[in-house]
């Protein structure tokens, strides 16, 4: 059985593979979305409620611009728009990498499947806390 056939069979049967594939597709859609919108034209469909009401930027303001600029390779400008943009982007990029790598090893190495899930959950939680820490501390 080829790798693709194995993947498709497990996609239907195994929840882990279904979740991984779905999340990978969603992350890719997010990247495409930010690549489509231009930071120069400022044609993003969503605006910040905080800035609309107060005129002052909030902690998440400029994230869309920052993401678009990172995709276009303009890292310094992205940092200027939102200093947290790079770490949030790295979280999504890391998650995409995790989904692909963990899915691959889940299909290939049958004996360590449970361990892989535990590593994935631990790693993802740690990555999430590390990336979203400024937002979490701001909220609570």
């Amino acid at each position: 059985m080829s790798f693709t056939e194995q993947f498709l069979t497990l996609f239907r049967k195994e929840t882990y593979i279904t979740v991984n594939a779905s999340l990978a597709v969603i992350i890719l859609i997010i990247f495409v979305y930010f690549a489509l919108f231009s930071p120069a034209k400022n044609n993003y469909p969503f605006t910040c409620i905080h800035e609309e009401l107060t005129g002052e930027p909030c902690l998440s303001c400029g994230l869309s611009h920052s993401f678009s600029l990172i995709i276009k390779g303009r890292i310094t400008e992205a940092y200027d728009w939102n200093p947290n943009g790079i770490r949030i982007f790295l979280f999504f990029l890391g998650q995409l990498f995790f989904r692909v790598v963990f899915s691959y090893y889940y299909i290939v190495a049958e004996s360590i499947r449970k361990q892989l899930i535990i590593y994935d959950i631990t790693g993802s939680c740690f990555m999430f806390l590390l990336s979203f820490l400024p937002f979490i501390t701001y909220l609570f």
């Binding site: 929840t15 279904t18 979740v19 779905s22 999340l23 969603i26 969503f46 910040c48 409620i49 905080h50 009401l53 107060t54 909030c58 902690l59 998440s60 303001c61 994230l63 999430f128 979203f132 937002f135 979490i136 701001y138 909220l139 609570f140």
Partner: protein, 163 residues
């Protein structure tokens, strides 16, 4: 038939887990997180439906319970953003009030300055000179003078003399 029911509960659980994870990530972003209330509710509803089906069919509940927990936590985080928004609204209500007070202060100061100042208006027309002086010291006198001037001027016409 039994297998189909198990598959549907499993599919619902998977959908609830994916929605829950997305909701969780979305919920912690300030200002944007309030939107996550809707997918949070969807996650909880899906997980509950899946749990009901799974408990009837005796299928595994781990996936559904984990999606329900993620959904509830994400919903609570998202719901807490309402308080952040309330804080914002209070802040914005404070801003226009401050602006209104500042404008009123400036208005009062300008009116006060104008009342205290002396203004001289001098009009020259065909050799006639009319001079109006205003000030706080002799306001009433000046008003009377102005009235008298208006009475005397009533006889005169503003039109140009005929050739």
């Amino acid at each position: 038939m039994e297998e189909t029911k198990k598959t549907s509960a499993h599919a619902i659980g998977t959908a609830a887990l994916i929605t829950g994870i997305i909701t969780f990530v979305l919920a912690v972003i300030p200002c944007v997180g309030i939107i996550a209330i809707i997918p949070g509710i969807i996650t909880i509803v899906l997980a509950v439906i899946g749990l009901t089906q799974a408990s009837r069919d005796n299928s595994p509940l781990t996936l559904l319970i984990s999606s329900l927990v993620i959904g509830i936590v994400a919903f609570l985080i998202s719901f807490s953003q309402i308080f952040v928004t309330t804080r914002l609204v209070r802040h914005t209500d404070k801003l226009p009030r401050e602006i209104r007070e500042t404008i009123k202060d400036i208005h009062d100061e300008v009116v006060k300055d104008l009342e205290q100042s002396k203004v001289n208006i001098r009009i020259e027309s065909n050799g006639e000179v009319v001079e109006i002086q205003t000030g706080t010291d002799n306001k009433e006198i000046k008003l009377k003078q102005l009235e008298e001037l208006e009475k005397t001027d009533k006889t005169k016409t503003d039109s140009l003399p005929e050739k």
